[in-house]
């Protein structure tokens, strides 16, 4: 009986119901959408941290003056620089260095109907400890000459062949998403990248036309021995190995972590402001609606409805409105965040990885629960007031 009466009350005043549903939708949209954004940003940062893998990255000092190495690795601006391979040996000989692995960089040129410049990264499968663990998530075979792995944001043609500097490369696997510019890069072994560098030199498209491809590297990635301080090892390399710059990998992403913390604070503030505003408006709206319906409740009491039944009627109406609004808000947030995650990532300039379906569902359930609880708390006050209505006084008042 209560359910039917609640339904009639809600459908009988569609404008009022729609306004309350809209408020509940705002609540759900802000808390679910905001939390999903914060979780995705956190997941992106975690993924990036895991993928960088090295403690220290050593690049030629000229690379620092020409452009920021962060641009290349984190901001997705393709670039390349080279130094003599002997620097890798000098770095490896320093105290505290456990493992070194060299990488070779190249940027493709934009050509053809749909190509854009792509960062090409060559690694040595024999010594690599950063890309291989990542690649092994999707590909366990040997990576041969001409084989390439591509980031998750690179769309692979149906024939699985990508052409750089007129050299055909076979895509053997697509790497899992990190939410950073590492997802738009292409990875191959040193021989593959040396062949591409040579091809770019032949076409006069490489600014380092004089280098011998088998005698250079672009960066040396270092793993520090246990018991050694990473900062000390980095300083030691910077002091004793000339013409190179050693950078702590964690420092490279500290800027991103700071931006992420700032963004999370901003989103939390937004959620708090929307909730405070919506809950206040909802409380006032409920109080006004209940005041308006005093006579209706008095008549119901005269007809024999108990105090509990009246409170139940108010609570069930509020629950129905909140449920509808919360579902609509959650659906809207999903529609705004999931399909446009790439645009959000690009707009924010921060790593952004949507959590897996299970977590999203869990978050949606939590948001739904929070909205229903908040709605119930706001309407409970009005329900208590309604249940205390003295029917004789009320009807006399109205007359």
């Amino acid at each position: 009986m209560i359910a039917r009466l609640s339904f009639k009350n809600l459908t009988g005043r569609p404008g009022r119901t729609a306004a309350l549903v809209l408020l509940a939708a705002f609540l759900a949209f802000s808390i679910f959408g905001g939390s999903l954004m914060i979780l995705s940003l956190q997941r992106g940062l975690d993924g990036l941290e895991a993928r960088l893998g090295a403690d220290i990255i050593v690049v030629p000092s000229s690379a620092r003056s020409k452009f920021n190495v962060n641009d290349l690795l984190l901001q997705g601006n393709p670039g390349y620089f080279y130094m003599n391979k002997s620097y890798a040996d000098q770095v490896a000989a320093r105290e505290g260095v456990e493992q070194v692995s060299c990488q070779l960089y190249l940027a493709s040129v934009s050509a053809g109907c749909c190509s854009v410049p792509v960062q090409i990264i060559g690694f040595d499968p024999a010594t690599d400890f950063t890309i291989l663990p990542w690649a092994r998530e999707t590909y366990r075979e040997e990576i041969g000459r001409g084989d390439i792995l591509v980031g998750s944001d690179v769309n692979v043609p149906q024939d699985g062949i990508l052409r750089f500097y007129n050299v055909d490369c076979r895509v053997v696997a697509q790497l899992s998403k990190t939410g950073s510019s590492l997802d738009t890069a292409v990875y191959g072994n040193q021989q593959t990248i040396q062949a591409l560098i040579a091809a770019s030199q032949e076409r006069g498209l490489n600014q380092y036309n004089q280098i011998e491809t088998d005698k250079v590297v672009s960066a040396v990635l270092i793993k520090v021995k246990n018991g050694y301080d990473v900062e000390d090892v980095k300083d030691d390399i910077n002091i004793h190995v000339r013409k190179v710059v050693a950078v702590r990998a964690s420092h490279m992403i500290s800027g991103i972590a700071d931006s992420l913390a700032g963004m999370s604070r901003l989103i939390t503030l937004f959620i708090a402001a929307v909730w405070a505003l919506c809950l206040a408006v909802m409380a006032v709206a409920f109080a006004m609606i209940m005041n308006e319906r005093k006579k209706e409740f008095a008549v119901l009491r005269v007809l024999g409805a108990s105090r509990g039944r009246l409170a139940g009627l108010v609570m069930s109406e509020a629950a129905a409105v909140n449920l509808l609004g919360a579902l609509a808000g959650i659906a809207l947030a999903l529609l705004a965040v999931l399909p446009f995650s790439a645009a959000i990532e690009k707009g924010l300039g921060l790593p952004f990885v949507i959590p897996d379906a299970g977590r999203v569902l869990l978050l949606a359930a939590a948001a739904l629960g929070a909205c229903l609880a908040a709605g119930a708390a706001v309407s409970a006050l009005s329900a208590v007031r309604v249940s205390r209505v003295d029917p004789s006084l009320m009807i006399r008042e109205e007359n």
Binding site: C114, V118, D153, V154, N155, D183, P339, F340, A342
Partner: protein, 139 residues
């Protein structure tokens, strides 16, 4: 079927969504821009196709306003099919650019899919509401 030509809220919603598609493809969520040499990428043609399909849907949504309730059911069904076609244009029927981070992948494709899905949802809801109203009137 009643021959009422009354304009309902759902008619306005459908019209707004159908007009959003061509306007969006042209200005709000267009495909990637041309190269410096003026050459265009494959996604440009996907954007043009969406613009064309969207213009046809917009015209149908305008015409729909002047139709009887029964004819509106047919127009709704046509819009559902048209929107399905529109959803498949970017990426499925016409290929897009190489990187998922490019505008055609990041903005145009999801926006077209979302708008087309909303058109399908609104048109389906309109069909259901009209059939329900018709049944209620007969009783």
């Amino acid at each position: 079927m009643k021959k009422s030509k009354k304009i309902t809220a759902m008619d306005i919603v459908l019209l707004a969504l159908c007009l959003l598609l061509p306007l969006g493809a042209a200005w709000i969520f267009p495909a990637c821009g041309a190269h410096e040499d003026g050459s265009v990428m494959a996604c440009h043609w996907a954007g043009r196709a969406v613009l064309g399909a969207g213009a046809a849907m917009g015209a149908l949504a305008v015409l729909r306003l002047f139709l009887s309730s029964g004819a509106k059911l047919g127009a709704d069904a046509a819009l559902i099919l048209f929107a399905g076609y529109g959803e498949m244009l970017p990426g499925t029927l016409i290929s897009l650019c190489m990187m998922s981070t490019m505008r055609c992948h990041a903005l145009m494709k999801p926006a077209v899919i979302v708008v087309c899905a909303l058109i399908q949802l609104a048109a389906a809801a309109d069909i259901l509401l009209r059939i329900r109203r018709e049944r209620a009137e007969k009783r």
